[in-house]
């Protein structure tokens, strides 16, 4: 794809700073997209672990009926915090802010993003939002207990610190918008010469489509949150029916953002899958244009289906069948992707390394999540399953089994590039297996319980659910073990792992043409693009580059 871009004996981005400082300040004030990506990695991983610990605590509470370790009110705040952290602090920013920042500029042959300072600002805006969540826990009134959906009228009447917590979500939204603006501008303005749109790697396409959703949808939640704060503070009747407001309007506005937001979560993950599968199948991607276009299609049709979350809210019957119908249409572009991935693997020479195994786990778990989504998208079945564990199982399968596993896949795929070292592959593979077992024990049981009628957001349950609840909790322990094994392996390998070399997997997109870790401005000369993005015939010439 590129010629002569490897520089010998060049300092990498850890050794060279973009500013006059050294040490910690050279990181905190950096404008290097790779360093900012890593700062996001550390911060987001921290919150992910916090979210996991809260999840484990909730499962512990549910080990036995009645009170086990916490009372009902504490459970309410636990699932709210768990949801807020996992959604706003982990899964929405996760892939774009970490891997998008680090790899989008490299993959299109750029030296940085279009607005490096704005990039750093977006990181600090994220941190401010996170700190506000933290502060809201300790102020009088206590931690927010509304669930991560902040539904009216309870969120107006709850005496907990709702205003500050949702203000944090408002601020986090700005971070997301800034990242989106940066990526769109970067893709339009900074592509290397001859890097036409249809030569861009599919991760770039996916991140680009995501950026559009970040910009167009996020302001909606921002305004909605402001309206709730105004209503709480000044008693203006916007949503609360007691004051003449319309509570269903809140649900509309909330989901007008939050459904497209699930595509902010999953689209970049699909982009990562489209990178990993060709590399480990040694075969050019099947249906490149179809995958690229389906990203844009998903970004667009994602706006048409939000009210499938509201079938039991009391909205009109017409709206109920219209949105149920529209929901089935969104399955199409996702299907296009899955079929093209499978076609790519067909007759490929597959090398099942750790990132590939994560992707296999993804396809399995995400398919279950997606198909049960159709069950919930059907008006009749949703009326039965709404607000049960079935929904909890469904969204963990899509968000955690989907985006979460791809977060780990991306980490294992690009780890050698980011840090210049390899992890211990056997241990990493064992972690995948444990994850898969623990995950299905933890959440598949929730499908069954939900179908039997176990409602979500309860700290207690009837005796007939006892066995399944126990299996689920044991699953959470296996899952936690897998996550800590994986994290331990990666952290240990940061210093002790074997040196990785520029191209450990035999990838062909631009990041594999430069040293690991990359030099400060990525490329000594801006590369000339001579190949299609997934043309593996160039692997031979690439051997000569280093």
């Amino acid at each position: 794809m590129a010629n002569g871009v490897i520089a010998i004996e060049e300092k990498n981005f850890y050794q060279q700073s973009t500013n006059k400082y050294s040490g910690i300040l050279s990181w905190l004030l950096t404008t290097d997209h790779k360093r900012i990506g890593l700062m996001y990695l550390y911060t987001i991983s921290f919150f992910f672990i916090v979210g996991v610990i809260i999840g484990i605590l909730m499962r512990l509470e549910l080990l036995t009926p009645g009170k086990t370790i916490v009372d009902a009110q504490t459970y309410n705040t636990l699932f709210t915090l768990h949801g807020v952290i996992m959604i706003f602090l982990f899964i929405i920013p996760g892939l774009p802010a970490i891997f998008g920042n680090f790899f989008l500029p490299i993959q299109i042959g750029a030296r940085d993003v279009a607005f490096p300072r704005l990039n750093l600002l977006s990181y600090y805006v994220y941190v401010v939002g996170a700190i506000l969540v933290f502060i809201s826990l300790f102020l009088p009134g206590g931690p927010i207990d509304t669930g991560w959906t902040f539904y009216i009228p309870y969120s107006v009447r709850s005496s907990t610190n709702v205003s500050m917590a949702i203000l944090a979500a408002f601020i986090l939204g700005f971070s997301s918008i800034l990242t989106g603006i940066n990526f769109i501008t970067t893709v339009h303005r900074l592509r290397a010469p001859e890097m036409t749109f249809f030569k861009m790697p599919l991760f770039v396409w996916a991140t680009y489509a995501t950026a559009w959703i970040q910009i167009i949808a996020t302001p909606v939640i921002g305004i909605t949150i402001l309206l709730v704060i105004i209503e709480r503070t000044f008693g203006v009747g916007i949503f609360d029916p007691a004051l003449g407001g319309d509570p269903i309007l809140f649900q509309h506005l909330f989901w007008i953002y939050s459904h497209p937001a699930v595509y902010i979560m999953i689209l970049p993950a699909m982009g990562v899958v489209s990178e990993i599968i060709p590399t480990f199948a040694r075969r050019t991607i099947f249906g490149y244009k179809a995958i690229a276009m389906s990203s844009l299609a998903i970004a667009f049709v994602g706006y048409l289906v939000w009210a499938h979350h509201m079938f039991t809210s009391g909205m009109s019957d017409t709206a109920r069948w219209v949105f149920s119908l529209l929901t089935f249409i969104v399955a199409l572009p996702s299907g296009v992707k899955v079929f093209n991935w499978v076609a790519t693997m067909y007759k490929g020479s597959i090398d099942p390394q750790t990132p590939f195994l994560w992707v296999m786990a993804f396809i399995f778990l995400f398919s279950i999540g997606g198909l049960t989504g159709l069950v919930l998208g059907s008006l009749a079945t949703d009326v039965h399953l709404h607000d049960t564990y079935f929904v909890v199982a469904h969204f963990h399968y899509v968000m955690f089994g989907g985006t979460g596993t791809i977060f780990f896949a991306a980490l294992h795929y690009w780890f050698p590039k980011m840090f210049g070292r390899m992890y211990f592959k056997k241990v990493a593979n064992i972690a995948v297996l444990l994850f898969f077992i623990g995950f299905n024990m933890l959440y598949f049981t929730k499908f069954i319980m939900g179908y039997m009628g176990m409602p979500r957001r309860y700290y207690d349950y009837l005796p007939q659910f006892a066995t399944l609840q126990e299996i689920s909790t044991v699953g959470s322990w296996i899952l936690a073990l897998a996550i800590f094994l994986m994290a331990g392996n990666l952290i240990y390998s940061l210093r002790k792992g074997p040196k990785a070399g520029p191209n450990p997997w035999g990838g062909v997109t631009l990041e594999w043409h430069i040293p690991s870790p990359p030099p400060m401005e990525n490329f000594k000369e801006i590369p000339t693009i001579t190949h299609e993005p997934y043309d593996f015939s160039q692997l031979k010439e690439m051997k000569n580059e280093s």
Binding site: L304, A307, S316, A319
Partner: protein, 93 residues
């Protein structure tokens, strides 16, 4: 991009600002009259004029590259669809 600088005089800005204020005043006063189903229609119409003024003059879109107009049209179109779909609930409830 931005090579041709369009200088807009202060007078234009002030004029636009005054019209925005006037339109806001109209919106508020109309909300007090009972026009039934037309209240919303009129309010939306006035809001559309206001945003057109802001986008074209204050945000300089009128003088910028076509690509920005495409981007804007895209967001506007999305917003329109969202309105239409919401009305499937609002009208038939």
């Amino acid at each position: 991009m931005g090579n041709k600088k369009h200088i807009i005089g202060y007078n234009t800005y002030i004029l636009v600002w005054l019209s925005l204020l006037a339109l806001t005043a109209i919106t508020v006063s109309i909300a007090g009259i009972h026009l039934g189903d037309y209240t919303l229609l009129i309010a939306m119409f006035i809001a559309a004029i206001k945003s057109a003024l802001v986008i074209n003059i204050f945000m300089h879109i009128k003088f910028d590259e076509p690509i920005f107009k495409v981007f804007l049209a895209l967001s506007g179109f999305t917003l329109l669809i969202i309105f239409v779909l919401t009305f499937f609930d609002f009208i038939y409830r």
